[in-house]
Point group: C2
Chain length 245, copies 2
């Protein structure tokens, strides 16, 4: 349940001007709000870092000194109870922004699932940057609002949906925003383990496995490998997900 981990590796401690200009994640992230003409200011405060699978790079309760922007890979955010029970509050992929919080400590932990690359920004420096780029502040508000809506959906899922409905919701979400595999366009990769899915959906590994198998035998989905899913009946699965079954 809890994996001690290696440390993240800093790739570029003092950002060169081009790291942001050439960043392939920029268009998908809040960094897009800084115009080309000023991109060097952003690059100057960005610290590019890599984290190997399993590495914890944000620890709940630690002093919140940085913001993070994911530029490659997938991250799990989670909270834990003292006895080891874990709730994954979300998965973050390319372009996602982490670390919004008013408090001076992080409210959650974050771990690399696969190999992850992200930019670290000192909070203090971002604050001064925000004063010059109100468009970025607007983007942050939009990000926070979007996440709030997602969080409310997740509360409905955790509080009121059955295991079957939870898996259906999760699969539909992943098919929308997950990594699309070559081949059938309804096919996608699941970078996270069954344990991660269970801790995201408030279930156990066994229930996740059993329910996926059931959805497969009933013809809703295919499971070409443990980390790949193809949706056979998107409409029916969506109905399941929204409790209309």
């Amino acid at each position: 349940m809890y994996t001690p981990s290696t440390r993240p590796v800093v790739l570029d401690p003092r950002g060169a001007a081009n790291i942001c200009a050439n960043c392939e994640a920029r268009s998908q992230s809040v960094c897009d709000a800084v115009p080309d003409s000023d991109i060097a200011r952003l690059a100057a405060i960005a610290v590019v870092t890599r984290a190997e699978p399993g590495t914890t790079f944000i620890q709940e309760g630690d002093s919140a000194t940085h913001f993070f922007n994911i530029s490659a890979g997938t991250v799990r955010m989670y909270k834990m109870l003292p006895d080891g029970r874990r709730q994954i509050t979300g998965f973050s992929g390319v372009g996602h922004f982490l670390g919004l919080a008013v408090s001076d400590t992080y409210a959650f932990s974050a771990e690399a699932i696969d190999r992850v690359r992200f930019c670290k920004f000192s909070r203090a420096r971002v604050r001064t940057l925000l004063d010059d780029f109100p468009a970025m502040e607007k983007r942050l508000l939009a990000v926070a609002s979007t996440e709030l809506v997602a969080a409310q959906d997740q509360m409905l899922l955790l509080g009121r949906k059955t295991a079957r409905e939870r898996l259906a919701s999760f699969l539909m979400l992943q098919s929308r925003q997950g990594t699309i595999c070559q081949g059938s366009r309804s096919r996608f990769a699941l970078p996270m383990s069954r344990g991660d899915i269970a801790d995201y959906l408030g279930l156990t590994i066994e229930t996740v496995s059993r329910t996926l198998t059931k959805l497969r035998t009933e013809g809703f989905i295919e499971i070409p490998s443990a980390s790949e899913i193809a949706i056979r009946a998107p409409g029916a699965l969506e109905n399941l997900a929204t409790g209309m079954a």
Copy 2:
């Protein structure tokens, strides 16, 4: 589960300049970010409205035309599944700001629990106001961040806590932010029904009732009336809430 309701009553369709200046909720809300010198501009776009108990004044899925600021009473926000299952995503009291969303439809419904007074602001007009008062935009970001942290806590509760731990968490939260009754300072009012508490905690009415009774017989709390609670053992209850029991 679903209560059809009377319509909210508009008290002051065209805000007089003093309605914001004299508003007792202002200091507790985002409106505080508008300085006294400009408060008339805020008042000009505020529509003061009252809603009787049970009135739905935001309907999930409706076109999101307004923001809301609660100035009296308590509100429940919720999402529903087609078959009537309900998840309450939060309760809002004086000073709370509702309606943040990027989407053009509301992501949740909101109902008055007791008699509620709130200010309605057209989104379009707030947007122009925000351009002139970046401090307000910062306040909104702070509000959104705070709610995001609360939402993550609630996900942990819904996904991983036992009924006992959920009630303990809820009672500790209410004792911190709820209406304090006269008498013992550990005593507070619960404006919401057992059904509301159940739908907030992902439980049934029966489990809420039984669990409260158990906490009472075990000496953690007193229940002077169905809508009042006194905490007898705050430390022990907090330990329960955080899973350290």
